[in-house]
């Protein structure tokens, strides 16, 4: 499956770096401390907590957003992994 996962948080490096190293994620963990990118994608503070709203975007090789999932709750609602995989399969 031809896809790269990019995880973005507004996490401070000092907070997340330890977890990232400990868990060894096989994909880049990115930091958007000023929420610039989070705001560009329209998912900042949708639940009035000054945090990114859990959300997933699938961007194709031409830079188009092909699918998106914006979490309905601030904590628990995430895009189903099976759905992400299914969407990626359709792109390839």
């Amino acid at each position: 499956m031809n896809a790269e996962i990019l995880a973005v948080s507004m996490e401070d490096l000092s907070n997340a770096d330890y977890a990232v190293r400990a868990l060894g994620f096989p994909f880049p963990i990115l930091y958007d401390l000023d929420a610039d990118v989070v705001e560009d994608y329209g998912v900042f503070n949708l639940h009035n907590n000054n945090l990114p709203t859990p959300s997933t975007f699938i961007i194709d090789t031409e830079g188009n957003i092909r699918w998106e999932y914006i979490g309905r709750s601030a904590k628990t609602d995430r895009a189903p992994i099976s759905e992400i995989v299914a969407q990626l399969r359709m792109l390839n």
């Binding site: 990019l6 880049p28 961007i59």
Partner: protein, 142 residues
């Protein structure tokens, strides 16, 4: 009048059967000759209540039709990916979810370059023409 109306309301909430509620109201009042008076506003209220329910159901049905119609409308457009629309609907996330206008130019992903935990910088451009990207925003420390 107001009090009777209130009785009607509590009665509706309390008992699943409106008829059962009416009897109770009559008993509570301890005045058998008031019962017909109680019944008349109750009937009106019940009519209004069921009218409201019917209206709400009608609105719901319209909304359901609208949302059900959307995927079928989109399906012919996305001829390459007929499975896209049905697959997208179960998500129905906070704002929107699903195949966001698959082949249009209106959904260009905002470009970015961000520092990574590995100490380098990663930009969306670096995957262009090469790999699809699953961009995940997460909440972070909590």
């Amino acid at each position: 009048m107001v009090e009777k109306y209130r009785i009607g309301l509590t009665q509706l909430k309390a008992s699943p059967s409106p008829l059962g509620g009416r009897v109770r109201v009559g008993v509570k009042s301890h005045a058998s000759n008031i019962v017909p008076n109680c019944l008349i506003p109750n009937r009106k209220h019940l009519v209004r209540f069921w009218a409201a329910v019917a209206l709400a159901l009608a609105v719901l049905a319209l909304a359901a039709c609208g949302s059900a119609a959307q995927p079928t409308d989109e399906a012919p457009v996305a001829t390459v990916e007929p499975a896209t629309a049905p697959a997208a609907t179960p998500g129905s996330g906070y704002g929107s979810t699903g195949a966001a206008a698959p082949e249009t130019q209106d959904n260009i992903a905002p470009k970015f370059t961000l520092p990574s935990a590995a100490g380098d910088f990663v930009s969306l451009d670096s995957f262009a023409g090469d790999r699809n990207v699953v961009l995940v925003f997460y909440r972070g420390f909590w």
